[in-house]
Amino acid sequence: MFTQIEKLGSSFIGRIEELGRFGLFLYSVILGVFSRPFGFRELVKQIAFIGARSMPIILLSGLFTGMVLAIQFYAALVDFGAVDRMGGAVAQSIIQELGPVMTALMVIARVGSATCAEIAIMRSEQQFDALTCMAISPYRYVMAPRLLAAIVSIPLLTAIYNLVGIFGGYVVGVFLKDLSGTAFMQTVIDTISWSDLRMSVVKSFLFAILIIWIAMGKGFFVHLEKGVSGAEAVGRVTTKAVVASAISMLFVDYIASSFLI
Amino acid sequence: MSFDCTEYLQYTVLHLTGEVDLSNSSKVRSCLLEILDQGKSVIVDFSTLTYIDSSGMATLVEGLNIANKNNLSLFIAAANGAPLQVIELTRLNQVFTLVNAVEDIKE
């Protein structure tokens, strides 16, 4: 019986240690953002990777989500005779909730996994040790550009997702359900307020930090994973990073929604 | 590290004294490029040079390349000790014309 308690205790302590490590890690990365010389080249590369190359899936998922949402809202509102409010409902759902969350999920799938794996492999090949021994801070040179790139790209991707989603709703409303285009857009404008947009921006900003922080952190500490090494360890931390980012993101989404609604 | 230039026949002689390394090789570079820019051939005098690192040698290689392109010459005179070993290690003794003393150059 005592071994069970011991295990529980040490697992709990392990979690706390991990939280501490991650906290210090984020602190070091933020310091790295403000250190000179800053890795501009890497920043641009990362914005291209995180932002520009995520565009296709953002456009596609935004479009389809908006279309599905419109179909759903139409079906729900038609019984209340309130289909003229569909535009606003679709827009508000996307801007407040689906835009930030879906963008975050797409980015986690694409960028979170790739970044975690990349950082984990760098760790396994002693590239961080090499940088440290060359008096180049890995936080400044490798991590900080990625953090900044995420903070710049992900809110922008969210905004694009929002636009495309509303457009998807428009397409369904006007071409499938014979609603008036101008009426649709009018309800959108009437319903959406600055606090909705603020929620979208705040959420996407928080999600950006969360996603890149967890992805890099899990990869950076891959050598501390017990019981595995090499390729298996890289695979394991990547999976953990994706799952942890998704769940933390949804949790933060809930908190943000309660505070900002 | 210090350096100065004197004239010998139609060459400018660049005397290097002390140690040429990362901290000062760019000064040598500016001087060397300026001399070549003026269309003068160069003899680099190693007699009072105690140490030269690869940034210094890279500077001389760049100089040699520019010299060759402009039909000028670049010689290294009186290489000895550690600088000579560096030249041999990097196999630059086959690229540069090495002479024992500045006065050995007659034309």
């Binding site: 010389p37 590369k45 990349e118 492999i121 760098m122 090949e125 002693q126 590239q127 040790d129 090499a130 940088l131 440290t132 021994c133 060359m134 008096a135 180049i136 | 390394d21 990362l22 090789s25 760019s26 570079r29 690192d53 690869s54 940034s55 040698m57 890279a58 500077t59 290689v61 760049e62 550690a82 070993q85 560096v86 041999e88 290690l89 990097t90 196999r91």
Partner: protein
């Protein structure tokens, strides 16, 4: 376990004093005392599990010791501040086992990295310097390739080129010969000797290859199970009477006594 140090009258550049190192509860190094003289080639030898990688990590400041100190020219790296450590590191080069090149840039850019980060040298100078080093390593044609396109041996040499690009005073080399064919290994040994002579580099090599060690070392430090068994010249090592050292030199397999009954029961454990 007497430690015999060769008599030298040159300056001691690196000193390791009473070093203990542990991973959590597991003690890996015990009371290591070592000094490295300026201009010498010191080889740290030991089998797997002897603690030599841990010793290297401690000396590079990549992990803190649990006790003891490591001095570089009088500076204790364990409590040096960031700028002191940074300055020291810029005069040191480290060649890692797999090369440890950054995978996102070409071989050439990798080698130029320290120069671009720490100096204001002109790009032309940097370019020629990196090519000089690549030529030295026989990697001249590989400048524009990515690390993923290189073989293990080439990666190692590229890592060495990067380690020496700034003509450091101190070079650390982790397992130079591991995974190399005998010819390349000999060439690398010669290169190490030339670097020391031409650049007056102090070189610390961690290896388990005997041939290499005997060829290049001024002194050898032998580690066994986290303890420094002997430090001495090649001749002193060969004359050492400690059985572990003799076994290491003669490459005798460890004699594991066999208990027939236990052996049989191990083989047949869990059988019906």
């Amino acid at each position: 376990m007497t430690q015999k140090t060769a008599k030298t009258n040159t300056k001691s550049l690196i000193e390791v004093n009473q070093l203990d190192s542990a991973y959590g509860d597991r003690q890996v190094l015990n009371d290591i005392n070592l000094s490295v003289n300026e201009g010498e080639i010191l080889v740290i030898m030991g089998g797997s599990g002897s603690g030599k990688s841990t010793l290297l990590k401690n000396m590079l400041g990549l992990m803190p010791p649990s006790a003891g100190e490591i001095l570089f020219d009088g500076l204790n790296i364990c409590d040096a501040n960031r700028s002191q450590l940074s300055k020291l590191r810029r005069s040191m080069g480290v060649a890692f086992q797999g090369g440890a090149l950054l995978s996102s840039m070409s071989v050439g850019d990798n080698i130029k990295l320290p120069l671009r980060q720490h100096t204001d040298l002109d790009e032309n100078t940097i370019s020629i310097m990196s090519r000089l080093k690549l030529e030295l390593m026989n990697l001249a044609d590989y400048e524009d390739l990515m690390p993923s396109e290189l073989s293990g041996g080439m990666l190692k040499r590229a890592g060495l080129a990067r380690a020496v690009i700034m003509d450091p005073k101190i070079l650390f080399f982790d397992e130079p010969s591991a995974g190399l064919d005998p010819v390349t290994s000999v060439e690398l040994d010669q290169l190490i000797l030339q670097l020391r002579t031409a650049m007056n580099m102090t070189i610390i090599v961690v290896t388990h290859e005997l041939e290499s060690a005997f060829t290049i070392a001024d002194r050898i430090a032998v580690l066994f199970d986290g303890e420094l068994v002997i430090t001495g010249t090649v001749d002193e090592i060969k004359a050492c009477t400690d059985s572990r050292v003799i076994n290491l030199i003669n490459r005798t397999p460890r004699d594991i006594q066999l208990d027939a009954d236990q052996y049989l029961s191990r083989l047949t454990k869990g059988a019906e």
